[in-house]
């Protein structure tokens, strides 16, 4: 077999040494650093983008949190305002009711007083009318005017009944 022929051992070993060394130098100085750079650059880019995405995510979460906080605050404020307004309105209504009822009571009282006065006046005029009627009636029947005192007594007696 040619594998065991020592004639060509020397040239094979020499050329192996030359080519292998050359390849080693080419790989270690040119080819591998270039590939390594590209891979590193890609890794860096990917990491960069991931970092950026993470930053944006936290930012978005912070924005959501602050938005929700603002929402809750304004809701609480609205509640507060609603309660205050309700309080004020009910107080006002109470006040108004009190005033109105006071005025009404006053008016009722005044009315009652007037009614009383009118009633007294009416009663008084009823007596006068009765006296006149009695006087006229007695004059027609008897032909003479009756005594004032007896008329008074008779009318007072009739009104007492």
């Amino acid at each position: 077999m040619p594998q065991f022929d020592p004639t060509f051992f020397a040239p094979q070993l020499v050329w192996l040494a030359i080519t292998f060394t050359l390849l080693y130098l080419l790989m270690s100085t040119v080819a591998l650093p270039r590939i390594g750079e590209v891979l590193e650059e890609r890794q860096r880019k990917i990491q960069d983008n991931l970092d950026k995405a993470l930053a944006l995510k936290t930012e978005a979460e912070a924005a959501i949190a602050s938005y929700e906080k603002a929402l809750a605050e304004s809701r609480a404020k609205a509640q507060e305002m609603l309660r205050e307004t309700q309080d004020r309105l009910s107080k006002q209504a109470e006040q108004r009711q009190k005033e109105v009822s006071a005025r009404l009571a006053e008016q009722i009282q005044a009315g009652e007083v007037r009614i009383q006065a009118v009633k007294e006046q009416a009663m008084a005029s009823v007596r006068d009318v009765a006296l006149e009627i009695a006087e006229a009636t007695a004059q027609r029947l008897t032909g003479q005017a009756p005594a004032r005192a007896s008329l008074d007594a008779a009318v007072a007696g009739a009104m007492k009944e």
């Binding site: 077999m1 040619p2 594998q3 065991f4 022929d5 004639t7 060509f8 051992f9 020397a10 040239p11 094979q12 070993l13 020499v14 050329w15 192996l16 040494a17 080519t19 292998f20 050359l22 390849l23 080693y24 080419l26 790989m27 270690s28 040119v30 080819a31 591998l32 270039r34 590939i35 390594g36 750079e37 590209v38 891979l39 650059e41 890609r42 880019k45």
Partner: protein
């Protein structure tokens, strides 16, 4: 039928002699130079765009880089980082030597035991030097496992020593024998093809084992490299 051994013959293309040593440029040398040129072109031209999103060619160049880098990291760890150019060169050189041999009428320089032995011996010597440089005489612990009873040293030390010293031989012979046998088989089967219409059967078989040989070309380059990594790991981390 052509002689199946003929394909392994070394033919001087440019006879040369330096200081009494035959340094002729042979068909073997031609294929070695071709491997160096092709590997360099494959890696540098493939990476010329330095694309962030690689094309097919750049992907293949990156894949070969990452394949060897992962092999080295998995077997040796981060300490093996500085030997990466060497291991990568070893892998690509053997791989292209195997694959170029698959071209009809070319030559497989990895089928010559003297070449693979030179590579294996270089790995062996390098690894041994690294081992002694890192661990001093403690590296001799390699030949006697921890926890074994002292009496067993009489048997264990010679066994470990022989297994250690036989590494370059097994590494070299495994590769060259695989390449030689594969190519002889291809040639022998091919010799049966021109027998008429029935020659279609050996032709089909030939197609099958050609695919197999491509697989073996890849696998043997991988085996050669990973064993070198394992030996390197022994020297750096010990076991």
């Amino acid at each position: 039928m052509a002689n199946p051994i003929e394909q392994f013959e070394i033919r001087p293309l440019v006879p040369m002699e330096v200081a009494g040593v035959n340094v002729s440029f042979t068909n073997s040398s031609l294929l070695m130079v071709a491997a160096v040129v092709l590997i360099t072109v494959f890696l540098t031209v493939g990476m010329r765009h330095r694309s962030l999103v690689p094309g097919r060619w750049q992907s293949m160049a990156e894949m070969s880089y990452e394949f060897v880098a992962n092999m080295l990291r998995d077997n040796v760890g981060s300490e093996g980082r500085k030997y990466f150019p060497f291991i990568f060169t070893l892998f690509m050189f053997v791989l292209f030597g195997n694959l170029l041999g698959m071209i009809p009428f070319s030559f497989t320089f990895t089928s010559h035991t003297i070449v693979t032995f030179a590579l294996a011996a270089f790995v062996f010597i390098m690894v041994t030097i690294i081992g002694f440089a890192r661990h001093g005489t403690h590296y001799l612990r390699m030949f006697f496992p921890h926890g074994a009873p002292l009496v067993t040293a009489v048997i264990l030390v010679p066994i470990e020593l022989i297994s250690y010293l036989s590494r370059p031989f097994s590494l070299a012979v495994r590769l060259s024998a695989n390449m030689t046998v594969g190519h002889i088989m291809l040639k022998v089967v091919a010799g049966f093809v021109p027998i008429g219409i029935l020659g279609i059967l050996p032709l089909g078989f030939l197609a099958g084992i050609t695919i197999l040989e491509f697989g073996i070309a890849l696998l043997q380059a991988y085996v050669f490299t990973i064993l070198s990594c394992i030996y390197l790991n022994d020297a750096i981390n010990m076991h």
